[in-house]
Assembly symmetry: C2
Homo-oligomer: 227 residues x 2
Amino acid sequence: MTYCYKYPHPSVTTDCVIFGFDGTKLKVLLVKRALEPFQGRWAFPGGFMKMDESAEEGALRELQEETGLQGAYIRQFHTFTAPNRDPRERVITIAYYALVRMQEVKGGDDAAEARWFASDDIPQLAFDHDQILRKATKALRQQIHFEPVGFELLPEEFTIKELQNLYEAILDVRFDRRNFYNKMKRLEMLEQTNETVNPSNKKEAFLFRFNKAKYEELKQKGFKLEF
Amino acid sequence: MTYCYKYPHPSVTTDCVIFGFDGTKLKVLLVKRALEPFQGRWAFPGGFMKMDESAEEGALRELQEETGLQGAYIRQFHTFTAPNRDPRERVITIAYYALVRMQEVKGGDDAAEARWFASDDIPQLAFDHDQILRKATKALRQQIHFEPVGFELLPEEFTIKELQNLYEAILDVRFDRRNFYNKMKRLEMLEQTNETVNPSNKKEAFLFRFNKAKYEELKQKGFKLEF
DNA sequence: TCAAAAGTGTTCGCTATACACCCATGG
DNA sequence: CCATGGGTGTATAGCGAACACTTTTGA
């Protein structure tokens, strides 16, 4: 017991809701807790913030340890401070969500068991992590209205249908295939490649990539995605 | 020195960006720091989070002490964690913004000098509070796209022009007076009263109030304010 | 030959936007 | 009587939403 203060200080952790996309469904990476409390329950990766790093650096570090990803896209969305959210002692957590390409995620260094879960089929979580997930989902939905966000979640090349699935999964709505196509065309955010792919054994589908310049421009000037 | 931990813990404060509206300009309430560091500089009201209260409760308490307002509308928007943001020791701050009616704000209990500043004419601030203000403004702008927010900032009754001024001040844009009127009419969010007021010594202007039912409904279903 | 998936329009109605007109008031 | 501010209307262009047609391919 070496660090002493005149007034009590809470512990500060960062937690990271890691979103991925498999072409059909939105997924969330969870790790199984090895220790009490909530041993065996699933939870978001996270850990204590170090004294010489910002919360963002801490979250990136945790993410790197868990997924092997460097410099992933993360965003702080809320800090959870209910006095009894951790049964042991006062812990507040600064929560981030990350958008990653599932394909690029390797198993983490940590021995802990980790698994992707469909975002609409999540097991019982440790602590207040269910509340954290709800808020993360809400924040992501808000963000997607102002910034094109698909780039972070999709592979380099993808079909229109995959992009549509992504938007549908995040917003939990259904779009008309043709209207979605027209809208994307009007925004000029996509570039068609020559390659095709045949995911369904029916007609072949073109692969697209993001037009990076337009993508950044729309991200800048606060693009309004209505739907 | 009575509270000891195995690992170092940061101090945790809440800061509150208090927005008000005087009918023309968006305002921010600042207090002059009485102590070092940054003695004499303007800053946002704030203070240490207590161990038995959530950050939100802490922010409301600080706000009450400063303005006399109970249960004001506040919203957490970001937590600032740069390791050296406070020169004394590691302090992270959970930042809120509050929307209040300037008319209802009484001087605080605190002896500290407090003043309203126009949001586009802010003096040099203590700590990283300039950065906090920028982020608060941005968050408020985002919010106004999804939730009608005027209710918290305006008196019970107000003219259309005042409402327009509010939106223009927050979003930093100009609207056509007639289009703004038409839009508000279509949304059915306002109720016209019989009273008029004569702010300019020209033609009298009707006073409006919010249609609370419609207001709440739009707030619920995530209203899209385009402009 | 038929069902399913994918590429490409077309039409319609709403609304954002630009702009015009009238009324009331004080100088 | 005219400048200023306020209440109300109208025309147009563009977009969201609904929907139709065609092609490809495997069963």
